[in-house]
């Protein structure tokens, strides 16, 4: 799946990284606790979260994630977007809630993360 497909499926607004929409994504993770995100290896993954602070971007960067989706109408600040921009991470926002957003991506073929042992 491409990041542009994620945008369409989630009816999301792209807030930064528009130029990277053609990138592939292979897995996703829906989570508000960043340490839980850090516990699992991802492969060019999407992070869906309702948490809005700079640590979301740093967590994504540490995991080599390529796209962050803020769910349930959460909007990141300019500083957060700048941080994402400097890391080449696409940021988008959707009005859809977490459960629905994860479901839409999953049924369209974007599965969950691989457990660390398999990486």
């Amino acid at each position: 799946m491409k990041i542009s497909d994620v945008k369409e499926l989630l009816e999301a607004e792209v807030l930064s990284g528009e130029e990277h929409l053609g990138r592939d994504v292979f897995s996703a993770c829906g989570c508000d606790m960043m340490s839980d995100v850090l516990a699992f290896a991802k492969d060019q993954a999407v992070l869906l979260t309702g948490l809005v602070n700079p640590q979301v971007v740093r967590t994504a960067e540490m995991m080599d994630m390529v796209c962050i989706v803020f769910v349930r109408s959460k909007k990141p600040t300019g500083a957060i977007l700048q941080l994402a921009e400097s890391s080449g991470i696409v940021v988008m926002a959707t009005d859809i809630r977490m459960y629905e957003a994860c479901g839409r991506l999953y049924i369209n073929g974007l599965r969950g993360e691989k457990h660390l042992e398999h990486v």
């Binding site: 508000d32 606790m33 960043m34 340490s35 839980d36 850090l38 516990a39 290896a41 979260t49 948490l51 602070n53 700079p54 640590q55 979301v56 740093r58 967590t59 960067e61 540490m62 995991m63 080599d64 890391s87 660390l116 990486v119």
Partner: protein, 141 residues
């Protein structure tokens, strides 16, 4: 690269917003050195969790990263309260973090377990009222 490459950072304990900047800097530098992606990922996650821990629990500290041809060492040193029960602290899900930290997305009791998970060797030296030093090694294969 015959001489080890050393990075030193002071981790500011008063500002949660900037926590993790040392790890981001190290990650960018190691990418430029052309180290394997999985080594860089393991190291940066382990260091990031450690940095966050120092800010949450110990009012900051220092982070040193030593890069040799065979391995990378991360030494995280703080002068915080110390860890009363290391075995308990190593259990996934156990946390002493406050509700405020939870609201920031951390304190899930995964910090130390993640540091162990992503490093090849980890040692914790801690003394109550004195501080904690966490040493991690990641081998470059």
């Amino acid at each position: 690269m015959s001489e080890p490459l050393v990075f030193h950072f002071d981790v500011d304990g008063s500002d949660f917003t900037s926590a993790g900047t040392a790890s981001v800097t190290v990650k960018k530098n190691l990418r430029q050195l052309g180290l394997p992606a999985d080594v860089i990922r393991k190291l940066s996650i382990a260091m990031y969790e450690g940095e966050i821990n120092m800010v949450i629990h110990a009012n900051g500290g220092t982070a040193d990263v030593i890069v040799t041809e065979q391995y990378i060492d991360i030494i995280l040193k703080d002068q915080g309260p110390g860890i009363p029960d290391v075995n308990l602290a190593m259990q996934e899900g156990y946390s002493t973090a406050t509700a405020q930290i939870h609201s920031l997305g951390f304190g899930a009791g995964m910090g130390l377990p993640n540091m162990k998970r992503y490093s090849d060797e980890m040692k914790i030296d801690t003394e109550l009222g004195v501080g904690t030093t966490v040493s991690m090694r990641i081998w470059i294969r």
